[in-house]
Amino acid sequence: MAILVVADHDNSTLAAKTLNTVAAASAIGGEVHLLVAGHQCDSVAQQARSVAGVTKVLLADNPALENQLAENVSLLVTEQGREYSHILASTSTDARNMMPRVAALLDVDQVSDIIRVESEDTFVRPIYAGNAIATVRSNASVKVITVRSTGFDPVAAEGGNATVETIASDHDAGITRFVSAELAQSDRPELSSAQIIVSGGRGMGNGENFALLYEVADKLGAAVGASRAAVDAGYVANDMQVGQTGKIVAPQLYVAVGISGAIQHLAGMKDSKVIVAINKDEEAPIFQVADYGLVADLFVAVPELKSKLPE
């Protein structure tokens, strides 16, 4: 039986995370089909058909699917998914919102947030904010799984040549209405796919001071993240939070500025290749995971870093 991957997209572009999810599906083995559910999302299907390893794209285009409302999308995924051995999606908020509904409708347990595939029925996932790693076997008839992108290297976006099959969809549960979305606009790289991330914590003191980090980030081509404390204090928007309950990232370089290193923050970034910490408290727990620690006042060190970094 084939594996169904639910694509992440915004009706125009296939999200990079989907490539990691397809990689997890390929690790399980078998044919991989990609479901694009949305509205006026034909361009997504065109991108999906060239993803390496995908043999078929299912395109469901319906106004009720436009905003990825879980009540509606889950009906479609459940109907399609019955024919598959596994249904996979990423851990985007859309997928995390929708997939457990699919699992419940299929009456199977879900395996959340896998970081490794051991075999077609055995998966590895972090629990307790990453302080323990569990190996879990599922004997569910259909295995419903969400995939942590940082656990899998993405497959190539090009090279595949899948067929596109349009499927009828009238899946509208009619119990939820989309009201509005306030999405942050930024020209900077996206947190979840950036090679370098510069993050600020409560030590930044206020939102204006984040300008210091943006300047460093622009020089490095980096994304900017934040601790929960910085988000809660209103310095920056919620979508910048890194951690157990924010985004999970694993860039080549993570620079933590004025962040103490609580376990919930570490849970979101400790798989980064190289970690730098800038903190004025030499006892701060972040230094226990940092490859390079600089004990300094950030208001001195960060401007100096900015001026001395090569262009």
Binding site: A70, E71, S74, T93, D94, R96, N97, P100, R101, A103, A104, L105, D109, Q110, S112, T122, I127, Y128, G130, N131, A132, A134, T135, V136, R137, S138, I175, T176, R177, F178, V179, S180, A181, E182, L183, S192, I196, L220, D232, N238, D239, Q244, T245, Q252, L253, Q264, K270, V274, V276, Q288, A290, D291, Y292, G293, L294, A296, E304, L305, K308, L309
Partner: protein
């Protein structure tokens, strides 16, 4: 309106988790336990809705062993009116939890059900959505703002790109995110009063639910430890290391 809140007993979020030597599970003996932080936020939200006159009764439910009564008492001290403990030896998996909660919904007929967005032990993040699917109800997950008005609830959700607002017909399921509110501390007189509030004890059989799971945990291991690195003395040394040793810039 009646509000139902599901509270899970979990390890206190400040405690450092240790894995058992035989790698069968994490070691919870003599570890401080607490209400899951997201569930505490759910209780607080219910209490605020009641204070605003939007709700007249708050029922808290926990699924697990007798020790969960401790967390139910805490919720009662925060302002919930009565508790229900569904006794299971182990905390059930998310699907079984959703089935038990569905049976409680059928009995209690609440107008709004609040859950945490995830339990910080399993980190599953599934139960609310599963419950909504089983009950055929709309869901507002990762809520950072909840307003109830004329048979509807508007939920502002924390999503990857920012915020999204949805409008749900009541009854509905809402799961809480961290910024929904800051839970209060229970005042001593309320802790005393909570001792007299009722807690009903039920079994899955009473609710007609069989607790089972298609998942087996084969082993639980500690994560790979990161070695602490070095301290650099200056910004110049930092840049030098990043360029020539780590080669990441």
């Amino acid at each position: 309106m009646k509000i139902l809140v599901a509270v899970k007993r979990v390890i206190d979020y400040n405690v450092k988790v240790r894995v058992k030597a035989d790698h069968s599970d994490v070691d919870l003996t003599n570890v401080k336990m607490a209400i899951n932080p997201f569930c505490e936020i759910a209780v607080e939200e219910a209490v605020r809705l009641k204070e605003k006159g939007m709700a007249d009764e708050i029922v808290v439910v926990s699924l697990g062993d007798d020790a969960c009564q401790e967390q139910l008492r805490t919720a009662l001290a925060l302002g919930a009116d009565r508790g229900i403990l569904v006794q299971t030896e182990q905390p059930p998996g998310s699907l079984a939890a959703a089935k038990l909660l569905k049976a409680i919904i059928d009995e209690e007929q609440p107008g709004l059900v609040l859950l945490g967005k995830q339990a910080i032990d399993s980190d599953n993040g599934q139960t609310g959505q599963m419950l909504a699917a089983l009950a055929g109800l709309p869901q507002g997950t990762y809520a950072s703002e909840v307003t109830v008005d004329a048979g509807k609830v508007n939920v502002t959700r924390e999503v990857d790109g920012g915020l999204q607002t949805v409008s749900l017909d009541l009854p509905a399921i809402v799961t809480t995110d961290l910024r929904l509110n800051e839970p209060r501390y229970a005042a001593l007189p309320n802790i005393m009063k909570a001792k007299r509030k009722p807690i009903a004890i039920k079994t899955p059989a009473d609710l007609g639910v069989t607790v089972s799971s298609t998942l087996t945990t084969l082993k639980v291991e500690p994560p790979a430890q990161r070695q602490a690195g070095i301290k650099v003395a200056s910004v110049d040394e930092l840049i030098e290391k990043l360029q020539h040793e780590a080669k990441v810039i």
